[in-house]
Symmetry: C2
């Protein structure tokens, strides 16, 4: 059953064969997300994934060069999707403060499933973003990969929200630092709340992470 209206564009340098273009490719993405989350990046292998989807390791390699590029692909998918949601929900807004507030909601609130992509479980993908995404760029190859555009979507999201900050206060000196701090911070706080809670002030159902970062942003840019 096909229920999607469009694809999320991901940098073609990240795959040998577009996984969104075939049934096997989509199975790799779907089950890859579930296994990456359950096993963790280190224990995840293409061999295990192949077994799980009744396919062969060598077939997966025809889509992705390595599990590293699969991770980067997923991170990119996430940021493309986030950029899409960001643009969609803020483009018609005129009041700069409301606009930024909305953008911060998208960056700080937990993710909910988007029915349009049945081969991506966005909630599970979000867990991967929280726990593993920093491994995408903490590599000795960052610079080479950056040149190939591996982190372009992430940078674009930061740029867009930074621009919203400048709309409110054009003299604010550090919009990129502020927004990348919020993005990475949210992921850390969600990870810590599960595993190292004394590093946070998380309380179930009290929305502290969202409240904390929104408040921090508006106070900082004044």
């Amino acid at each position: 059953m096909e229920n999607l209206y469009f694809d999320i564009k991901v940098n073609a340098a990240l795959y040998s064969k577009d996984p969104q273009s075939s049934a096997l490719g989509k199975k790799i993405l779907k089950q890859g997300i579930l296994m990456l989350e359950s096993l963790g990046y280190e224990d995840f292998t293409f061999k295990k994934l192949g077994k799980e989807i009744g396919s062969n390791e060598s077939s997966i390699y025809r889509y992705f060069d390595s599990k590293h590029t699969l991770l980067v692909y997923l991170v990119n998918w996430y940021w493309s999707w986030t950029e899409y949601r960001l643009v969609l929900s803020t483009h018609s807004m005129v009041d700069p403060k409301r606009k930024l507030e909305k953008a911060l909601s998208i960056l700080t609130e937990p993710v909910r499933v988007d029915q349009r992509f049945d081969y991506i479980d966005e909630e599970v993908l979000y867990q991967i973003i929280i726990a593993e995404s920093s491994k995408a760029y903490h590599t000795k190859d960052v610079d080479a990969e950056n040149e190939k555009g591996f982190y372009r979507t992430y940078k674009r999201v930061v740029q867009r929200v930074s621009d919203m900050v400048l709309l409110i206060n054009p003299d604010f000196e550090f919009p990129h630092m502020l927004i990348s701090t919020v993005i990475e911070g949210v992921h850390h706080q969600r990870y810590f709340s599960k595993h190292l809670p004394s590093l946070t002030d998380f309380e179930e159902g009290k929305n502290n992470i969202v409240r904390f970062y929104k408040d921090l942003v508006f106070k900082t840019i004044q």
Copy 2:
């Protein structure tokens, strides 16, 4: 030549044999730091380290169970050392704002070499902290390792500085989030400034990272 007056205490669960207790152990630490930094965590191996120090892989395993515990050891050493500097430079201060300011200096300014530990190059270690330390806790074993106290020194530093925040504003709701956000944020910004500069507003010699985070903290807690 022995020029140290005391050792930095590191959780004994992190080693099989205390590396600070022997010449070989110190060589493992010293050269381990240099190689971890130059090769990166993924490409670093005990075999390569053994070759470099003219020793055997198996000898290194007698000190550390795995390269993961070596990394966690170094991260712990760093936080113990930072806690020591923190306490030393703030304990006599009475004005809460100056006290917090000083603490933030220690957390945000680049690290300088401490002559007392000739087997630790703190500046290189700091590069490891920036580029690799998040891998210490982004593991499937976090919870088990947390129970063994692998992250205790980090948590203690966060707690100490959070307490300083509460000294200024006892009603501030999120001191731990704030301080862990600053700590992780600084590392990210220093990493980004080298590899993904468009995510920052770093400018050489302008102290932007320090200024940004100090300003952010004081504005947020008011």
